[in-house]
Structure formats: structure tokens, C-alpha cells
Amino acid sequence: MNVRLALTALATIGVVAGHWLAFDFAPVEAQMGVVQKIFYFHVPSAMACYAGFIACCIGSLAYLWTRKGRWDALALAGAELGLIFGLIVLITGPLWARPAWGVWWKWEPRLTSMALLVLMFSAYWVLHTFGGSGEGVRRFAAALAVFATPNIYFVHVAVEKWKGMHPEIQNKGSGGLSPDMRTAFVVCMVVLLLLFGLLLEQRYRMHLQSRLVAALRRRIHRIGGDA
């Protein structure tokens, strides 16, 4: 409890510090100007998104093997957070691309693979949320998550090779950071991953609780039906 409180406080301070570092401390990038500052939270969001989907895959595999509900709850929480951060990436990406590249969207490897990834785990989420609460659906969803994970690699390879059709791609942003930029970037990364961890844990416990509530409901129904 106290650890969580401390971490929450740390994340709060971190968010403020991260913004200060990103906006004020780190210098304005020479070529792209201020818009490059999107990148301080855009890239960590992508990392959080991957972390969420990996959590989903691990949870799903463990669920298929052990059939313990808590693994399924972890997988669902991971998928949800992955989707939230993936959405952030997909929205901020074009906002950066428009001034930097002059277009909102390019069929560029990273963009395409991220979009498809979000699509796959959206299918997982839809299945899990609207497919009913039966065990069969959970197994189906878990299998889907496991099947989607190697696909991340294939989508990436496919669009990487595809790049031949788009020779004008600039891969700005990842390399050549000045030390101040790097500091700001690392802090933002740590802060966002911390936030991700906190949210994941919260979401995970929420799903466990909702299962508990459903189980209690059934139990009451059962006692009521018998008596």
C-alpha cells in the first residue's frame, strides 16, 4: 500500500519533471523545431504499448497452461493498456509527421506495424469484452493473443521490405540526441513506464475484483435458488 502510494507520488513528480525537461531543459531541435518535442512522450508511449502487448501475450500463454483466472485478468489488463498507449502513439505520430514530413500518414514500416498491432489486439479486446464470459471465449482470446505476437515480427519484416516503394522516408528522431535531449528523453521514458506499471496493476486488480463480484452474484443466486 505504502509502496504504491510512494510510486504514485513519484510518478506525479516525474510527470511534472518530464514536462519541464522536455519543454524547457532540452534544446529545440534544429531541423524540426519545437514539434520534435512530441517525441519525448511519443516514443515512451510506444514502449509502454509494446510492454502492454507483451504482458497480454505472457498472461495468455500462462492462462492456456494453468487456466487460472488471474492470468487472464493480467492478459486483459495488458491488452487494454497496450491499446491506450498504442492509440496515443497512433494519434501523436501523425501530429508529428504532418509538420516534419508534410503528410499525416505514410505507409512507413513502423507506422504500419503499429497500426496493425493495435488492430490485432483490438480484436482481442472486442472478443474478450463482447464475446460473452464463458471459458471458451477466454481460451479463444488467449490463443488469439499468442498467435498475434509472432505476427508483430512478420508485419514488421513485411513493411520493412515494402519500404523500397517509399524511398523518401526520413528516420529522424531515434539517433543523434544531444546530451540534454537524452537526459530529458530517459526521464520521460522512466516516468511513462512507471505510470504504465501503476495503471497495469490497477487494471489487473480491477479485473480480479469484477470476477469476484460475478462469482459472488452467482453464489447468491445459487443459495437463493436452493432455499
Binding site: I13, H19, F23, V35, K37, W96, P99, Q202, V213, R219
Partner: protein
């Protein structure tokens, strides 16, 4: 536990309110340099604001939803467990 998510929410709001101030304070000389600059520069700022707005709006909406759902669950859980206790007692 719900109180904690509310705390997280409030903390996020507070910290985000400080962001405009921070951004405003950044490199004043650069800003004066841009006076009368082209449309593209103005656009860059707009995009920056939009991007950060989206990030924090999404995260906060998510936290708020989670908090609401959790408080509902807490209520349900208390209600249901007391009902189960009652029923078990009646049966004995």
C-alpha cells in the same frame, strides 16, 4: 483503493496544469525570434499542443474510468459479501 486512483487523477491534473506555464517559459528569446514567422511554425506549435492534449486526455479519461469502475465494484463487493454472510447465517 479507490481513494488512491482519485489521488492519482488529482495529481495528474495538477501536474498538467503546470505544463502550459512551463511551455510558456521555454526559451523566451526563441519565441521572440519567431514573431511574425511563417504559417508552418504556427502549425508546429498547434500540433505540439494537440499531441500533448491527446496524450493526457486519454490517460486521464482512462484513469477516471478505472476509478469509477473500481468504486462501483467496491460497493458491489461490500453489498454482496454482506448478503452472502446473511444468507449463510440464515441457512445454519
Amino acid at each position: 483503493m479507490n481513494a488512491r486512483s482519485r489521488r492519482l487523477c488529482v495529481a495528474l491534473v495538477a501536474s498538467l496544469l503546470s505544463v502550459p506555464a512551463l511551455a510558456w517559459a521555454q526559451n523566451p528569446e526563441t519565441v521572440t525570434q519567431f514573431v511574425g514567422s511563417s504559417d508552418l511554425d504556427a502549425m508546429k506549435y498547434r500540433h505540439l499542443w494537440l499531441a500533448y492534449g491527446v496524450i493526457w486526455l486519454l490517460i486521464m479519461a482512462f484513469v477516471a474510468r478505472t476509478a469509477r469502475r473500481q468504486s462501483e465494484l467496491k460497493k458491489d463487493l461490500d453489498l454482496l459479501s454482506s448478503r452472502v454472510d446473511d444468507m449463510e447465517k440464515n441457512r445454519e
